[in-house]
């Protein structure tokens, strides 16, 4: 079973990062190969310790909305981003950082958590992954 899912992580918003990691883990759990391609604002989440730093995509309310959502997640016992990321890597998920948007965002490899990044690439890398993928998403 070699179906593949490729997700462009364009947003750095907290809820969208959660969506990307939950869908990615779901796909891995069901036997698919998964690549997460981080660009633009998503790259900010690849900074060391930065996975959870994003605002909510809506209802952020200067941080109050984010607090409310985080509390609800705690009550529902939702896995942490660290846990989701660790599971993602353990199940063989791949993280690719877009070099071109790294430059636009003013990021160098040393600014990022290099341990979790499997590959650096440009749009051709994304297309290679996506063209053979059964599922492609832009989050």
């Amino acid at each position: 079973m070699n179906d593949k899912a490729t997700i462009i992580v364009h947003s750095g918003d907290l809820d969208k990062i959660y969506s990307a990691l939950i869908v990615a883990n779901g796909a891995l759990s069901m036997g698919m190969d998964v690549s997460l391609y981080f660009t633009f604002w998503g790259l900010l989440r690849l900074k060391k310790g930065g996975m959870g730093s994003g605002p909510l995509s809506k209802m952020h309310m200067l941080g109050l909305g984010k607090l409310i959502i985080k509390n609800r997640m705690k009550k529902a016992n939702v896995a942490s981003l660290e846990r989701l990321l660790a599971d993602f890597k353990e199940l063989g998920g791949k993280i690719i950082a877009c070099e071109m948007t790294m430059e636009i965002m003013g990021l160098k490899a040393k600014d990022l958590n290099e341990e979790i990044i499997d590959q650096y690439g440009a749009v051709g890398t994304y297309i290679q992954e996506a063209r053979t993928s059964a599922i492609t998403l832009m989050i």
Partner: protein, 73 residues
């Protein structure tokens, strides 16, 4: 032939699926994997994933708000 036990009671999506997948990766052919949990959606999703992965479903049962699913690799 080993029995692997997975306890995901209280865990919510996607953890039950993830832990099931991890157990399947560790298991040898013929091993059984017993998963107990409470998340209602996972009770449907784990058999669905087992079918997608061509893994045999030995049994499914529910006692109170806990379900138990046994798979065999």
């Amino acid at each position: 032939m080993a029995d692997i036990k997975v306890d995901v009671r209280g865990e919510t999506c996607p953890i039950p699926l993830v832990e099931m997948r991890k157990a399947l990766r560790k298991a040898d052919e013929g091993d059984t994997i017993e998963i107990i949990g409470t998340h209602p959606a996972s009770k449907k999703e784990i058999p669905m994933a087992a079918n997608a992965l061509s893994v045999k479903i030995v049994s499914e049962e529910q006692v109170g708000d806990e379900w138990k699913i046994i798979l065999q690799k």
